[in-house]
């Protein structure tokens, strides 16, 4: 038993899990507001990270400026995507909408490879100190900052949905579009806003992961990791998404620990979350916090 490794991996799990949680939240946001299952969520991270990299490396902007420009770009990106691609699909069968988002994912995947190449590229160093030690554990500075950012985003979401005009409009729209409209809420605007916010938040996660691991198409795997997180928590629960993300992060790292200590199979950490997903869905088919849809005939 290597206790310090276990602690180190647990901390890693929490930090990575918080990032999963953030991406899962932005996925749930789109699903809740516009009932679209977005298979291109991972590509939001990818596009955001590449755009930020481009600002920093090709334009030589300082990090804060490049980051702000990235957020502005992603706002536009989300808006345009919704208005141009998804708005015409409103009212079409679910399968068409899903195919469209899968298509978007493949398209942006390829576009990024075409523009930036197929190899991972590192971000220029951003923090003066690369690693800090927290209670004897080595942690990358970026990860610590990312944990702070994740928490800030989660608090921001909580504030947005409970206290702001648009958050209230979004909850109303998620509940019943007809009624929301009759109360003066513009449903197309709510849809567009949810895509923009989702793109921005995902891009933040993309930049953080990019700074740690370098930017490459591997980033879009986060879009797949999000599924166990989201389904675990319940498709329409923001809180569930956050917890689901953290659970997946922890499971991955604990599986890695068990694997490296005893089993030596090599890739347990990649599949462990999906096993857990199957088990949890057997017991709670709507996820941990999802809405039960019981139809009485």
């Amino acid at each position: 038993m290597d206790l310090s490794l276990l602690l180190q991996l647990t901390l890693n799990g929490l930090i990575v899990g918080a990032l999963y949680g953030v991406v899962a939240m932005s996925f749930v946001l789109i699903y809740k507001a516009s009932q679209v299952v977005n298979f291109a969520q991972g590509e939001f991270l990818l596009v955001g990270a590449w755009v930020c990299w481009w600002f920093l490396v090709d334009w030589q902007l300082p990090f804060w400026a490049g980051f702000l420009f990235t957020l502005a770009f992603m706002t536009l990106f989300g808006l345009v995507l919704q208005v141009v691609v998804l708005r015409p699909l409103i009212g079409e069968p679910v399968i068409s909408v899903i195919m469209a988002t899968i298509g978007l994912g493949i398209f942006f995947q390829a576009l990024m490879k075409w523009i930036f190449g197929v190899f991972a590229k590192p971000f220029p160093p951003i923090f003066a100190v690369e690693r800090v030690s927290v209670m004897g554990l080595e942690v990358q500075t970026v990860y610590l900052v990312s944990l702070g950012i994740s928490l800030a985003i989660m608090l921001g979401f909580a504030w947005f949905f409970t206290a702001s005009k648009h958050g209230l409009a979004m909850r109303a729209t998620a509940f019943d579009q007809q009624v929301a409209q009759s109360l003066g809420v513009s449903v197309p605007r709510v849809f567009a806003m949810s895509w923009a916010i989702s793109a921005v938040v995902s891009a933040v996660a993309g930049v953080v992961v990019g700074v740690v691991n370098g930017v490459s198409s591997a980033l879009s795997f986060y879009g797949i990791k999000v599924f166990p997180a989201v389904i675990l928590g319940g498709l329409d629960s923001i809180l569930g998404a956050v917890l689901g993300g953290i659970i997946v992060g922890l499971l991955e790292n604990w599986a890695h620990y068990i694997d490296s200590q005893w089993l030596n199979w090599g890739n347990m950490f990649q599949i462990a979350p999906f096993y857990a997903l199957v088990l949890i869905l057997l017991i709670k088919p709507y996820g941990l916090f999802g809405t039960r849809n019981i139809e009485r005939v």
Partner: protein, 269 residues
Amino acid sequence: MAEPSPILAAEGISLRFGGVRALTDVSFHVNRGEIFSIIGPNGAGKTSMVNCISGRYRPTEGRVLFDGQDITRIGTNRRAALGLGRTFQNLALFGHMSVLDNIMVGRHHLLKTGFLRGMLYWVGGAQQEELAHRREVEEIIDFLEIQHVRKAPAGTLPYGLRKRVELARAVALKPKLILLDEPMAGMNLEEKEDMARFVVDLNEEWGMTVLMIEHDMGVVMDISHRVMVLDFGRKIAEGRPEEVLADPHVRRAYLGEADEVTQPAEEVV
């Protein structure tokens, strides 16, 4: 018509779903400050009419004028901003939200502070604005006597209270004209009397024009200024309650009578 311009005028409204004619060439108007009721047997097209006015349906023919403006082609949410509020026949509250939040959604178009200014809560004027809104919302809550449940999730309330919360939400829009789709359906006598009183107070004290669909003939005849009767999507009568009750077409639609009127009007109620 000698009165000033009506607040709502429907001109030759027809609505077809494929081969089904829900409404055929219906024209009527609602004057400022009156309680106007639409009655008719089930399937007569009452709710379809209200949906044409609120924007849920787009009439196949004809046009809707609100406050002198043609609103036939504009979106539902824009109509709400112009001053057209409504409640639904089947309750449509946001079940997981508190009563207060439900009512605040009704004020959506009146809230000016957007996302960015909202973040500057104290300096951006958002606090001031929220206080002002909360005051008005509290006034509505007091008026409809739902103080005791203001923090409760709307989905947990009993039926009669939910109907009242829905009315409060529509009133929060500060509409010039409020559309009530069966506000008293499924209520007991006491609840009906309460609701009737609220509608009359809204009209007399708050100065709102009311367009109402209701099946309870007693209530309709008591509080309405004018009544329109629909049957199979056509208008068969319009006028003051006692005129409408005496109308042979109406009696035939409701009672299946032959043309001659044999019973005194009161017994129709």
